[in-house]
């Protein structure tokens, strides 16, 4: 029984996706000894492969792809518990786009991103630069320290920050008092509530951003700095002309993922404002608005909120796809 002379070692390159595939050592023309004499090896491989991807495909199909398609269906039908659902076309899209509260929530999400992302970028860059100058042991300890808040849930961060924000006996007001400021009722003030929610958001995001920045910094060859220094470049010149340009992709990555996360802020405002998004919708982020609509018992609200979620997805998805393309094309240039 001859086994077919196919090269089973060939690593197939699947299409799509960002990172470059490490080039495999190509060995061609190797014959594989088949143990099951009746089934040719390549057919056995097919069967193995299908078995191996089957759980993944089925689960993603049921819990990701199907809900996505179902969303499109639900967004074009008016659901009622008393009669058959009726097709209403793009009516819900129109409702969502005409809803001032939806636009307000997008504006709140945008403002949240405007507060959270620059702060995260600057702080993580500074901390990563600082860690880079440390010896291995201290750097390791610092990396773990900055990573720990990343492991904390938004719920826990919410409750501890709410306590720290208390007007009576709160830590923040207590620290501000000697400076002659306050006390503030942070979470009941229309102007202060969103910044007060942005602070724990930065606290939660800082660790991972710092580690990504640090990995990027470590990839910059030390010789570049030595050369710059020989040319008489000071610390700020080295940062401006060497570090930042070479860190561009990393910064872009943190920027994009940070924006997406900030616009989608949900758990923090949900717990900190007890789900109200208040005061006066000032912390009503898009996801919180959509969730609050969804929990509205009227059947209309289900379709409305699902449609709003889809529209948000289109906005964010376009944004993500564009940036991932940019990152990939940059990689090709950088090598």
């Amino acid at each position: 029984m001859t086994s077919p002379g196919i090269s089973v070692d060939r690593v197939t390159r699947a299409p799509g996706v960002m990172a470059p595939v490490p080039s495999p050592i190509t060995t061609s023309g190797r014959r594989r000894r088949s143990r099951g004499p009746d089934v040719p090896a390549h057919l056995r491989d097919h069967r193995t492969a299908y078995l191996m991807i089957a759980p993944m495909v089925v689960l993603l199909g049921i819990f990701v792809i199907w809900p996505l398609l179902y969303s499109f269906y639900l967004s074009t039908f008016e659901i009622s518990f008393y009669q058959d659902s009726t097709f209403v076309g793009l009516q819900f899209y129109q409702y969502v786009l005409q809803s001032p509260r939806f636009w307000n929530s997008l504006w709140v999400g945008f403002k949240a991103a405007l507060m959270i992302v620059p702060a995260t970028l600057i702080l993580s860059f500074l901390i990563a630069s600082l860690i880079k100058t440390l010896g291995a042991r201290l750097a390791g300890a610092m990396k773990t320290t900055v990573y720990i808040p990343t492991a904390i849930s938004a719920v826990v961060a919410s409750v501890v920050f709410v306590l720290m924000y208390q007007a009576r006996g709160g830590l923040i007001n207590g620290l501000l008092k000697p400076l002659g400021i306050g006390p503030f009722a942070f979470l009941s003030d229309v102007d202060l509530a969103l910044p007060a929610i942005a602070v724990p958001a930065v606290w939660l995001a800082l660790g991972i951003a710092t580690l990504i920045m640090l990995a990027g910094l470590m990839d910059i060859p030390q010789s570049y700095y030595e050369a710059a220094e020989l040319d008489g470049a000071g610390f700020f010149q080295r940062t401006w002309y060497v570090t930042l340009p070479l860190l561009r992709n990393v910064i872009l990555f943190v920027f994009v993922t940070g924006c997406i996360a900030a616009i989608q802020l949900l758990d923090l405002p949900l717990v900190m404002t007890r789900g109200s998004g208040g005061p006066v919708d000032s912390t009503m982020t898009p996801n919180l608005y959509i969730l609050s609509q969804f929990r509205d018992p009227r059947p209309f609200a289900t379709s409305f909120s699902i449609t709003a979620a889809l529209l948000l997805f289109v906005i964010l998805g376009t944004f993500t796809a564009l940036i991932f393309r940019t990152v990939r094309s940059d990689k090709a240039v950088d090598g």
Binding site: T27, F63, L68
Partner: protein, 278 residues
């Protein structure tokens, strides 16, 4: 390694020392505050003027939260769920990752696209419809609804596959010459190499399950299955003034996570290097 250079030319030792203290303080202050508030009595925790340490350290908050059977149950149920979730998640994602990294099969490109599309779908976009789907499947108020929908992760599969692609073919050739099947190669050659990458994705899964809040509050109404974040969230809504107990419970709920991070710190910190951009 260029250390002399940075020491000489970078910020001075004093500036860096101050910087380090600020960073550590900023990262740890909320956790420290949580710890200390847990030792304060009901009147001291919101006492004005504010005071960092309590006059009297009490342990009542910690003992009463540990005597609250709902809290202990929530911790136990969440821990169990997180462990099962993590194990299943690693199994499903690594198998698919291996198939896409090493096997050649009909329709591979198509299936690959199918499995990678979810990378571009934010969880929230399908959250509400997923709720409708699991409701229709009769999964509400079961552990399955907490575990099953999140097992397959395009991101983790992609991450593991990238790692498998970097494993030299020479390693499996020997096994292949000995006539090992693809399953045997996966189990004997790839799995032993995977510890580091499994720790990285496993910790991510564990944290993701443990810290989930919105999905449990949508799908679980049965108090026996309340998850820990749900318990803490409800506590805040219903017993908002018992700060000491809430802080004690919050602290106890993050201890397993901090322990996990400390145990696996080396893997996690290096994992960012490969998972981030490079």
């Amino acid at each position: 390694m260029g250390r002399g250079l940075t020491l000489r030319s970078g910020a001075s030792v004093l500036t860096r020392g101050i910087g380090l203290v600020i960073v550590v303080a900023a990262c740890m202050l909320p956790l420290t505050w949580m710890l200390i508030a847990g030792f304060k009595s009901k009147s001291e925790v919101v006492r004005s003027p504010f005071q960092f340490f309590p006059d009297v350290w009490i342990t009542d908050n910690y003992t009463s939260i540990l005597q609250d059977s709902a809290f202990v149950q929530a911790m136990a149920v969440t821990l169990l769920g997180a462990i099962i979730f993590t194990a299943l998640s690693i199994t499903v994602n690594s198998m698919a990752a291996y198939a896409f990294a090493r096997l050649d099969f009909r329709g591979k490109g198509l299936w690959w696209t199918f499995c990678i599309i979810p990378l571009f779908i934010p969880a929230f976009a399908i959250l509400l419809t997923s709720f409708v789907v699991v409701t229709n499947l009769g999964m509400l108020n079961t552990m399955a609804v907490l575990i099953v929908p999140g097992i397959a992760s395009a991101y983790q599969m992609f991450f593991i596959r990238q790692f498998y692609l970097s494993i030299p073919l020479a390693l499996e050739e020997a096994a292949m010459i000995d006539g090992a099947s693809r399953w045997q190669i996966f189990v004997r050659v790839f799995l032993p190499q995977s510890l580091g990458v499994f720790v990285v994705v496993g910790v991510t899964s564990f944290l993701g399950y443990w810290n989930a809040y919105v999905w449990p509050i949508l799908t679980i109404q049965n108090p026996d299955l309340f998850q820990i974040q749900q318990y803490l969230g409800n506590f805040r809504m219903e017993r908002g003034t018992e700060w000491g107990m809430l802080m004690a419970g919050s602290l106890l709920s993050v201890l397993p996570l901090i322990l996990l991070v400390l145990i696996f710190q080396r893997y996690i910190v290096n994992g960012v290097r490969i998972s981030g951009l490079k």
